[in-house]
């Protein structure tokens, strides 16, 4: 029997796992996909919000502001890129000024630091591509951008190094209460644990409702995004929001931590919790609405589009607590935006709840620091040449768009919880994430994966499951 089973290896589950790995406990993470970061965590705005959006006093507001504070030190410990680039919420009509002021006031009440309302001239001086019809903007310097994949992967890797077990391709089918603890039945074996953390994203309602009579309900709210070439990456320097409406924060325009430009998301409630398909209508809306905030967005430079699902709970707030009628069952549910920002705080809170409940003791040796994949492009010439002499794979470029070497790809596969698929390699190294969208490098990456994992090329997948890439050999059906 495990002390704790965490269901879901997205940012919430991984953050909880990492925080709990500070303590003496047998912990296992169950993930239905083949890798971490495969649900909501992989398809979102990649923003670290300042914290003025959520209603004062809500858990979202608390977690957001705390998560924002923790993100800097966490990014340093985990060796992941994070920049406080700041954000602007644009007010386009004088009559909306009270709403902008209200947002500022809410930010102050939530504990957001250093915000200012900027007049038109100052907005346009800071961001010349903001629409000319702007009349003022709320500036929040503590907002930032981060790589959601690296954050999620680094949290999980660090948890793994500190002793947390991860089981992939393991979907929870049922949970049965035992006298002490829970029995978790999956499509890949049955497990027992004293306590359970439910971090199942859009499925957190289904998991919760397996053990509790007090039902919760999560709606999958789909958002379409377009990602633009790095040539367009400096179109804006900060995250640009429209004034929020009732369905979320509207369409934003933001640089990404790796230098692309990202626009989106839409907000459409869908019944199917796997419906991550973009739609023509959604993509059109993204393009149209983004241009209301920012002018001259070079839409010809779109390199890919994608959709993500936010886990919207009917109560419109995060649920992070022990279920009222299920002792030792901790929910981490309704984690929609600002979930990515909040994850360090969510991890902290979950760990605190379980620590208090189970009387967990701190480990003697907890490794807080994780070293990321070495990116030779970030080294100086001598360091880079030394690295290539030591391991010539760092001298061979595989992904020419992002200039990713074979050495980085091998590292991504061999490290703890390493990549097993093309998408796994892509999220860890960016190989295939550039302007040719893996056209040139995918055959090479497939060969490296097959060699490193000892697999047949026919078993190499895009993202696990049935996503095989090649179907056979030439003429094999003739």
């Amino acid at each position: 029997m495990y002390d704790i089973i965490i269901i879901g290896a997205g940012v919430s589950g991984a953050a909880a796992a990492r925080e709990l790995s500070r303590y003496e406990a047998d912990i296992c993470v169950l993930e239905k996909e083949e890798d971490v970061c495969c649900g909501t965590s992989k398809a979102n705005s990649a923003i670290v919000h300042a914290g003025y959006d959520a209603e004062t006093g809500s858990l979202k507001a608390q977690m957001n502001v705390r998560g924002n504070e923790l993100m800097g030190p966490l990014a340093r410990e985990l060796d992941i890129p994070f920049k406080r680039t700041g954000s602007l919420v644009l007010c386009l009509n004088e009559e909306d000024m009270p709403r902008l002021q209200a947002l500022y006031d809410r930010g102050v009440a939530n504990g957001v630091k250093d915000m200012r309302i900027l007049p038109r001239e100052e907005v346009l001086r800071m961001e010349p591509n903001v629409t000319d019809s702007v009349c003022a903007a709320l500036y929040a310097p503590t907002a930032g951008i981060i790589c959601p994949f690296e954050l999620n992967i680094a949290l999980a890797e660090n948890a793994c190094v500190n002793g947390v077990e991860f089981r992939f391709n393991t979907a929870v089918e049922d949970i049965v209460r035992l006298d002490e603890g829970y029995e978790i039945r999956t499509d890949n074996g049955t497990f027992t644990a004293r306590c359970v953390v439910n971090a199942a994203g859009v499925y957190a309602d289904r998991i919760h409702n397996m053990v509790s009579r007090n039902k919760i309900h999560i709606t999958a709210r789909r958002g379409d995004y377009c990602l633009l070439d790095k040539d367009a990456g400096r179109h804006v320097g900060m995250t640009i929001f429209a004034l929020p409406g009732k369905n979320g924060k509207g369409i934003l325009v933001t640089p990404t931590i790796h230098g692309n430009l990202l626009i989106g998301p839409t907000a459409v409630d869908v019944l199917d919790k796997e419906a991550v398909n973009t739609t023509a209508d959604g993509l059109r809306q993204v393009a149209e609405k983004a241009q209301l905030s920012v002018k001259n967005i070079p839409m010809k430079q779109v390199i890919t589009s994608f959709a993500g699902l936010r886990a919207h709970e009917d109560g419109d707030d995060f649920i992070i607590k022990e279920a009222d009628d299920a002792a030792g069952f901790i929910d981490c549910a309704g984690i929609e935006s600002p979930g990515l920002t909040s994850c360090p705080a969510i991890g902290e809170r979950v760990a605190q709840i379980l620590c208090d409940k189970m009387g967990l003791k701190k480990k003697e040796h907890f490794t807080a620091y994780r070293k990321g994949i070495v990116h030779p492009a970030q080294l100086d010439l001598d360091e880079r040449n030394a690295l290539i002499r030591e391991n010539p794979a760092y001298g061979s470029i595989v992904c020419r768009c992002e200039m990713i070497t074979e050495g980085e790809i091998i590292d991504a596969i061999r490290r703890p919880l390493g990549a097993k698929s093309l998408d796994g390699v892509k999220r860890r190294t960016r190989a295939g994430m550039g302007r040719c969208q893996s056209g040139f490098c995918s055959p090479t990456v497939m060969n490296i994966l097959a060699r490193e994992c000892g697999k047949s090329i026919y078993d190499i997948t895009k993202s696990g499951g049935g996503s095989r890439i090649v179907a056979g050999t030439n003429k094999d059906t003739l």
Partner: protein, 423 residues
């Protein structure tokens, strides 16, 4: 720092022909830097025939065509480095490159010839909605999998885009045992060569659906089907025309873009119409001593044209290195070459009469399918030539030849205009 008279970026057909030509024009110290593990570039995966009709008056496969130039380069003992990625070129022609054995190294070049080729546009370029499963390949990636690696990307195939690679892959996939259900083309005409439509689609009964596009991709793990719809004159899908095609593979052949990261990085002035650098009559970019040829300059239809253009770049770079040119870059009067009605672009975009060779081939593409029209050349207001063309299409490159004599005969000439006109 090592020094070479000419450093050529890319060992595909353009780089090879430029190298051979530079050597034949008296340059001893030449280095080709090639990122792949062999010379020949993308020709290595083009195992179909049809190459070399102009250059060698015979039909060769891509590897055979490449081999002719590789042999010449080897005979001429031209130096080359494989598996070597050029990372950066400075405007002073310092080239930084990297490979496994040399690490990161820099070279000073007397002249640089850019011959990096082009890449395929990805799904995002058309912003095709739907899921993002396995089974969506660019036609060139599929070609590499099949022709180099020997793997079938799928069994039931729909192809979007009727560019030449898409057409060639429709035939290849069929010959290797796949079922190609349709080739959809957004435009009302094909972007590929006429002969490819006949030999790759018609001969195998593969339907070409003009004015159609993919409006949905189904399948979460692997492609399960795509939806095609007809589009109106503004390329917008017409509701009610959707048709589902069950398939496991979607190949995209939706255009090629010159790969000019290095050119832009060094600050070369670019031509938005070609996505390549702007060049003068010597195929020299806005940066002194930096020349460009082949698909990095503008996307070509036939490799024969690439070889010819690259040979000119090699000659001009040789003259630059030897200091035998009449005028230095930026010097001398420059006449503007402009693409007027019906013409998308011209390469080159300026001509310096003093510097030009006895004749200059100007290459361009038209912007639509034209039947029974003429290509006219104007020297300022005066029409100096007019040639009837029974059919012109965007998929096929056009050219005109200007002579030095003709241009020197007009000392006041400022602009040369090329246009498509009625008879």
């Amino acid at each position: 720092m090592r020094e070479y008279d000419i450093v050529i970026i890319g060992g595909g057909p353009a780089g090879l022909a430029a190298a051979v030509s530079a050597r034949e024009n008296g340059i001893e110290s030449i280095l080709i830097l090639e990122r792949d593990d062999r010379l020949g570039g993308i020709l290595n995966q083009c195992i179909h025939n049809g190459f070399g009709l102009h250059t060698f008056q015979e039909e060769l496969t891509g590897p055979e065509y490449a081999d002719r130039y590789i042999r010449q380069a080897k005979q001429l003992e031209i130096e080359y480095k494989l598996n070597t990625m050029v990372m950066d070129i400075r405007p002073d022609r310092t080239v930084t490159a990297m490979n496994k054995t040399d690490g990161v190294f820099t070279i000073r070049a007397g002249a640089v010839i850019l011959a990096m080729g082009c890449r395929e546009r990805a799904r995002g370029a058309l912003n095709i909605p739907g899921y993002r499963p396995a089974g969506i390949f660019s036609a060139g990636t599929a070609q590499r999998l099949v022709n180099i690696e020997g793997y079938m990307p799928g069994r039931e195939v729909v192809i979007l885009g009727s560019g030449d690679i898409g057409l060639i892959m429709a035939r290849r996939m069929t010959l290797e045992g796949a079922h190609v259900k349709a080739v959809a083309e957004l435009m009302p005409y094909s972007g590929g060569l006429k002969r490819n439509i006949v030999q790759c689609l018609d001969d195998y009964g593969i339907p070409l659906k003009l004015s159609h596009t993919v409006v949905d991709i189904k399948g979460r793990e692997r492609v399960e089907g795509v939806t095609l719809a007809e589009v109106d004159q503004n390329s917008k899908p017409i509701p009610g025309t959707e048709e589902d095609y069950p398939c496991d593979t979607l190949l995209l052949s939706v255009g090629l873009i010159p790969e000019n990261e290095l050119s832009r990085g060094m600050g070369a002035v670019m031509d938005p119409a070609t996505s390549g650098p702007k060049v003068n009559e010597s195929l020299e970019t806005s940066i002194d001593g930096v020349f460009a040829c082949g698909n990095v300059l503008h996307v070509h239809d036939l490799v024969d044209h690439v070889s010819k253009e690259a040979a000119a770049a090699g000659r001009n770079a040789a003259a630059y290195v030897k200091g035998s040119r009449t005028v230095k870059n930026g010097g001398g009067k420059a006449i503007l070459l402009t693409a007027a009605s019906g013409v998308r672009y011209t390469v080159p975009s300026t001509v310096r009469p003093e510097q030009m060779e006895d004749s200059l081939t100007v290459r361009f593409r038209v912007d639509n399918v034209y039947r029974g029209r003429c290509i006219s050349v104007y020297f300022d207001q005066e029409r100096v030539s007019r040639r009837k063309r029974p059919v012109m299409a965007p998929g096929e490159m056009e050219e005109i030849v200007l002579t030095k004599e003709q241009i020197l005969g007009c000392p006041e000439l400022e602009t040369i205009r090329i246009t498509v006109e009625d008879e």
